[in-house]
């Protein structure tokens, strides 16, 4: 029986890309909203961290006097910067509301009761309560986008 095995092809090594793995994981089947929401949570969190560095640097010019402050404000008075502020506001609202959902899941009040895994094998721990907060975060993000659109881009 052992003679029948002529050769075993070694498994092809896949190039590891952590960022690619994250993206694939979020969009890999079976898709669910919670996976996508966690992916967006991470992206928005990283973007907000980059913005925080930029924001602290920009606001530090206030210590340099009025001319320095007015100078940097004039530089940022352009459509691209306003669009950036728009994204920051929308990102903050989504990250905040969805973050509360994740927090409540981690601390367990929103975790559903365990039950037998039946077809189509829905994740039992993700109950209706957390899904409604996820919808709320989507609605609030849309409202924030409209509000920030009027305020910053109009």
């Amino acid at each position: 029986m052992a003679d029948a095995i002529v050769s075993v092809e070694p498994a092809r090594k896949r190039r590891k890309s952590p960022v690619g793995d994250q993206v694939r994981w979020a969009f890999w089947r079976p898709m669910n909203l919670e996976k996508l929401a966690l992916f967006v949570q991470r992206i928005s969190g990283l973007a907000l961290l980059v913005y925080l560095f930029f924001h602290v640097f920009v606001t530090s010019t206030v210590a340099g006097g009025p001319s320095m402050w007015e100078g940097i404000m004039a530089t940022l008075e352009n459509p691209l910067a306003h669009f950036g502020e728009f994204l920051v506001f929308v990102g903050v609202i989504f990250h905040g509301v969805n973050g509360v959902r994740i927090l409540l899941l981690e601390l367990s009040p929103l975790v559903g009761t365990p039950s037998r895994p039946d077809y189509p094998y829905k994740v039992q721990s993700l109950g209706r309560g957390q899904r409604s907060i996820l919808y709320l975060s989507a609605v609030m993000t849309a409202l924030a986008a409209i509000s920030a659109g009027f305020l910053l881009l109009w």
Partner: protein, 116 residues
Amino acid sequence: MRESTLQLVNYVMIAVLLLTVLLHLASHGFFGFVDYRGSLVYSDVVTRYRQVVPALLLTVLLISASFHGLYGLRNILLEFRSGPVWDKAVSYGVLAAGIVLVGWGLRTVALTATGG
């Protein structure tokens, strides 16, 4: 510091952050209480830094946002790879970034508040 302690501190920072970010956005006209452009005039900005409560709010916001953001970044980076060298490099790198960020922000608050 133990991971569980760090996570507990992160939960506290999240609660603080929720409140301070909302107040910060409100003070810049995002909820319609004040004029957005007016809130960015130099004299108004300096006035906020020279009042105790707004200056304290900015300081707390800076510290909580820096901790939460960098702790989140650390968690993501530690998920990518593992190993003692990587863990230490990420932890110390994030700590250094935090010191720079909070230090730079506190410098701004201190200089503006004292008019230096």
